[in-house]
Structures are given as C-alpha cells and as structure tokens.
Amino acid sequence: MSNFILETRGLTKHYGGVHALDDANFVLSPGEHVAVVGDNGAGKSTFVRQITGVEQRTSGQIFFDGHAVEHAGPLEAREAGIETVFQTLALADDLDVPSNLFLGRELFKFRLGPFSILDRKAMRERTMEALKTTAVKIPNVDNPIRNMSGGQRQCVAIARTAAFASKLVIMDEPTAALGVQETAQVENIIRGLKERGVPLILVSHNLRQVFDLVDRIVVFRRGRIVASLRKDETDGNDIVSYITGVKGSEEAAA
C-alpha cells in the first residue's frame, strides 16, 4: 500500500471535551528514527498511547506495516511488532532481570497450560546476551529489580524493548530520570537500534539528545503536529520557536 512502516491519518483523541490530539498525520519510513517533541500537554504521550493500543482513538486511521490496524490493547500492538518503553516503567519490582525481560513471553521446558515449566537457564542465557549487546551495566541479574538504581531499572526496560524489537520501537522519555552516564548508555542502545535498521519514535524533552540521535523531528503543540523537519534543515532555536508557538500557528501543518 505504502512503503511507510507507520502512518497515521487524521488521528484524533478527545478526553471528554478536551482535544488532546487533533488530526495528526504522521509517517515513519523503514529504519528511520524520529523524535517527537513538544511542551507538556502538547499531545506527545497521547499520540504514543493511540499507536501502542493503550487507548482507543476517537477517530482517524493507523497503518502499520502496510495494513490498517485496530489494536485493542498493548499486547496486540506488541504482537504486531511494536515494542514500547513507557514513561511509567512496566517492570515487576520483585522479579529478577530475566523474569522481567521475558514477562509474558516466557520460554518453557515443558508445556502444561498455566503450570508449564519455565526454562530458566535458557531465559537467563538469552538475557545475558541481550544485556551484553546493549552494554547495560547490572551487577547481578538474579537480584530483584527493586534493589537496583533508577538508571539500571530503566536500562532493563530498554534492554527488554531492544532485545525483542522487531518492527518498531517507541520510547517515551527514556532518559528523563537518568544520570549522565546512564543517559549515555541509553543513547548507545538507540544507536544500536539505528545500526540494526529498527525504526524508532523517541519522545524527548532533551533537544541535544534529539539532534544527536534522530533523522527527523516532529513538533507537537496543543494537540496538533505543527512541524516535521529533517535534522539537517533545522536547528535548536527553530525547534524551540515551533514548540513555543512563535512559528507555525494554526495554518501550519506537517
């Protein structure tokens, strides 16, 4: 149908009378890394929640991998190949790293319905591999996540996404709560995805990071997409003026 991996047409979400997202037309090419920027409440997270099936859109269409999709929930989106790191970490604190990585897609030695026997060794080995390719630093993968620092936990969440990434990765402010070193680690994971040709939507407030990592920047303002600019056609000041509304008022569209 098209050669976009993801396309939205007229994507709209209202919460009661609040127009959180209005007529968003967005495209993502295979292997492309796109940043979604905008002020708080601009509709970035709402946009992500519609694509990932966490919420159901009010109107509009989403095409993923060449097909119109109606993801009833995050699981369906994930099964279709959309992996997401959510702003609130989707990790179980009392489980160790392999259990979190494989939560909901465990490997089994022996299938017996709900009482299927887990293949803990295989899951642990594949976890170590996944963490090595992402260069995440974790002292002991057999410890519960609870005992780890915020950065380590975030890295586990991202490693989980990167390890299973198939068609599209979405990260909603992955470095918001991280220190300098941990941020660098996450950025390395993102570069690894680029090398592997996995497309990415990165929601971020950090313009330095955005210019470092992505190919294209999409600006949201008051629930609308007000700009879509290639990295080499723009600069920080330009983006900020779109975010704050100095440029690109009502008539501008992506």
């Binding site: 179980a92 009392d94 897609r105 009482f115 170590m128 002991n140």
Partner: protein
Amino acid sequence: MAQPNATHGLGGLKYDPSKKARPQELNVFIAFVAIVVAFELLGRLIMGESFLFNTREGTEGLFNTQRLSIIILQVSTVGIIAIGVTQVIISGGIDLSSGSVVGATAMVAMSFAQTALVNGNPNPKAIFGDWAMDLPVLLPILIGLGVGLIAGLVNGALIAYTRIPPFIATLGMMVSARGFARWWSTGNPISFPTESYNAIGTGMNPVFVFIVLAVLFHLIMTYTKYGKHNYAIGSNEQATRMSGINVDRHKMLVYVIAGMLASVAAIVVSSKGQTAQANMGVMYELDAIAMAVIGGVSLQGGRGSIIGTVIGALIFGVIISGFTFLKLDAYYQEMVKGAIIVGAVVMDQWRQRARTRG
C-alpha cells in the same frame, strides 16, 4: 568464605555474592529456632522440665516425640489452607473466606460420606435417603472439592471482573459460606461417616497431605509460569497486564486453588473428627494468614514463599504448644496470637522501608 565472582557482573561491574542479602526464609528459620530455644529455657527455668527433649524415665528417644507430633499435626490442617492463602497474598490479594469454606465443605462432603447402619441401627444423623449411604470415598472427596471450586470461582470472578477489592469479595464469601453451612442441615451436626472416609484423617495422614501439598506448591511457585505470573501480578499488576498476561483469568485460578485447598483441609479435619459441624473452621482464615505473614509473605504482594509459610506454620504451632506447656490460659494464647500477627506485619513494613532506603 564466598569468592567474589566477576562473571556475575555485567559491563565490567564486580559483583560479590557474599554481599547478597540473606534470603527471607533463613531469617524466619532463625526466628523459629530462637522461639524453640526460648520455650526450652523457660520450661527448664519455670516448669523444671524440657520443652523439646525426652526427659521422662523409662521412655526411649532423644526428643519429646509426643509433643512434637501434636504440634505438627495441629498445624497441618490450617497449614494446608495457609498454602492457598500464601499464593493469594503473593498475587496481591487476600482470602478471608477459607474458614467458612472449610465449614461448608465439611457439611456437604460429610453428608455424602455417611454410613447406612450405625451399630445395626439406621444412621441417626442421616441427611439424605439410602441412595447417599455408603458411597465410595472418592465421591464425597470430589463433591467436597467442588464446594471449594465454586467458592473460589465466585471469589475470583468478583475480584477479576467487578474489580472490587479482594478483602470485600472474600468477606462476603466468608459470611455467605458460613450461612450455607448452617442452612445445609439446619444447624445440625452430621456424623457417622464410612470407614474409608474416617481413614483419610487418621494418624499422621494430615501431616502427609500437608507436606505433599507444600512441596507441590513450592515447585509450582518456583518453576512454573503460574508461579512467575503470580509474583509478577503481586509486584506490579499494571506492568503484568501490559506484558500481555491475562491477569483476570490468572486471578480466577488463584482463588479457585485457594478454595480447593480449604476444601482439602475440611475433608481432613472432618474425617479426623468423624463429624461435621457448621462452625468448623471458624477463624482458620486468620490463622492461615498469620502463618503466611509470620513466614515472611508480604501483605503488599509480590514477596514470600511456600517454604516461608511452612516455617511460619511451625512457629505458630510451637507458640500455641509452648503456651499450653507453660500452663498459660487459652485467653493469653489468643491475645498473644493477635500480637504476633500485628508484629509480623510491622516487621514487613520495616523491611520494606529498609529496602527503599537502599
């Protein structure tokens, strides 16, 4: 001395396994040993006799096996319930209905386990006609388990699909199941079971049932998808849902298993007593929760183990037996039992605060 093992560390970080936190179960076990030692010392100081050891003239053996077997026999029935309650609490829920399910199951199972003739006369406590007399023992067992299954299904459906708190759903079941037990035979006890039904709870059979179920559920909680998902749901239900796990269906299963384990306990206890009464199992749910909490199962969900609960059950039994041994009134036992439960929860809170402090 444990050697620092660098292969555990990723990304160049050194990891020293000797610094790993002690497993919770070990702490509980240390507490268990301390309590036994305390009763031993108190016994020798106050009563002038040993709590643990055999000091009687002319009898064989190192230990006071009589007291020890009474302790383990006493905890076994409620211990079976505590296994079910443990997996409920780990999933982030609570089950207040297990004691009443014991009552309801005992009444129903016993009415299908009656024998036609008692000393040559018709059974004076007969509930049904001749058709329900001298049935094969498997039948009352299956019917009894069915009672727990239904109670668990109702609990689970209420919790999973109406999203009411487990406390409320199982409180409702606690009252209703007790009412059902009283209605079943209009309050009359049901007695005179068949020989084969009697045999279920004789001797150390209840202990055997308890151990087999404890081992089985330890394996389930440790090595199966069910166990892993149970911990995951209790730890972060939202994340577990996001991971594509059918949390609602899992919760149904959790409460069904808890209900059926309560029924197992009911069959054992009614067989042991050779009678069923509507008031059977009153307060069992609280004793079972106490065993789990003493054993280190966190009421917040996500943490705890069957091993912990088994040790918790032993602590519970030793304390009750120790009080009897010290000739303290039953009133004190109840008061102290309450204090122990609260104390165990306070300790859980402390542990968590210590953890979040890092």
